[in-house]
Symmetry: C2
Subunit: 194 residues, 2 copies
């Protein structure tokens, strides 16, 4: 029963009857992606939202100079997608790419709409998920404005210890909004300070 983790996760927010669980399981699909594969590509319409079972993805924006800006990482038990594209079914602004082999559950736009009708309680579930994501996103804006790169790096390390060990440093730098060279400098400073 590979979908179990999703049901467990949902149970933290709402309770589902057995019948509702069945409906839910009938509407989702389990998939495996390889490291490097894209779940969403900038310009395409994002057709699914994804719940990660194992592995890791990055969501990034590629600017006109060809520079990657990482908006978020997602690991086990996280949701990912290009929400702007998914909710409006318009071309995506961002890419979502697997940076490890990744197992996930995907829900299509149509299945998601049907689920909201058949299990209205899911509106509440997704509302809460999105509320939390918004709070985190606003916190990040404030941190970027009020803290130095070094402070942001220390917070990242504290908040996401599991992620840092799994991804290359240049991606951490991109997530922090600095160059890899500068992150390297910060790290050597931190070692000297100890």
């Amino acid at each position: 029963m590979k979908e179990q983790p999703l049901l467990n996760y949902i149970k933290n927010y709402i309770s589902l009857t057995e019948e509702e669980e069945e409906i839910l399981l009938s509407k989702i699909s389990y998939k495996k992606y390889l490291k490097g594969q894209y779940l969403v590509q900038q310009g395409d319409v994002c057709k699914h939202e994804y719940f990660i079972l194992s592995g890791c993805t990055k969501t990034f924006y590629m600017d006109n100079e060809g520079q990657e800006h990482i908006i978020l990482f997602a690991i086990e038990d996280w949701w990912t997608s290009d929400m702007g594209s998914f909710i409006a079914q318009k071309p995506a602004d961002y890419n979502v790419q697997c940076i490890e082999n990744t197992e996930l559950i995907q829900i299509s736009y149509e299945a998601n709409e049907e689920l909201y009708i058949q299990i209205p309680k899911l509106e509440r579930f997704f509302r809460k998920i999105v509320e939390r994501a918004l709070v985190a996103s606003q916190k990040r804006i404030v941190r970027n404005f009020s803290m130095s790169a070094k402070e942001r790096y220390l917070i990242f390390r504290k908040n996401y210890p599991k992620i840092e060990q799994r991804i290359p440093q240049y991606m951490v730098a991109s997530y922090l909004g600095i160059t890899k060279e500068f992150l390297s400098k910060i790290k050597s400073q931190l070692i000297l300070e100890q």
Copy 2:
């Protein structure tokens, strides 16, 4: 019928029966605040969410050096609050202050919870509102990373022409994440370029 703008706004997302409209109106309250008054203060639990009828508010974080960092402005037909504090009923990270005399509708945490039970359709409404807010918040993160202060200022001017004329420049600077002196420099550069 001062609550009408809220009903009209909600009708863009979901349809309500007359009975539901009455329940809704019975749970909300209409208020007037003066320029300078606070709707939420950092450290207090945020007890309401606010729908602005007229006027303008700013939501800001005050850092340890006493510097203000503006997270968002809200004008007519916008929602505002400290969402992290409101949803968890925990002390607020941010302040929300009126920068003009402001008329608004406020919904208390308890009323909001009761409304979700009595009118489950509102889950859908608020889910959609929060989804949009999250998309906007993520876009702002990307802009802060991938664009210069001048570019961000031009976009702000384009996106919020109505707001720029109503607020002092030093608040625009704070919203853009730069000093007022640097915004002044950008503006004089833009005049020379014309």
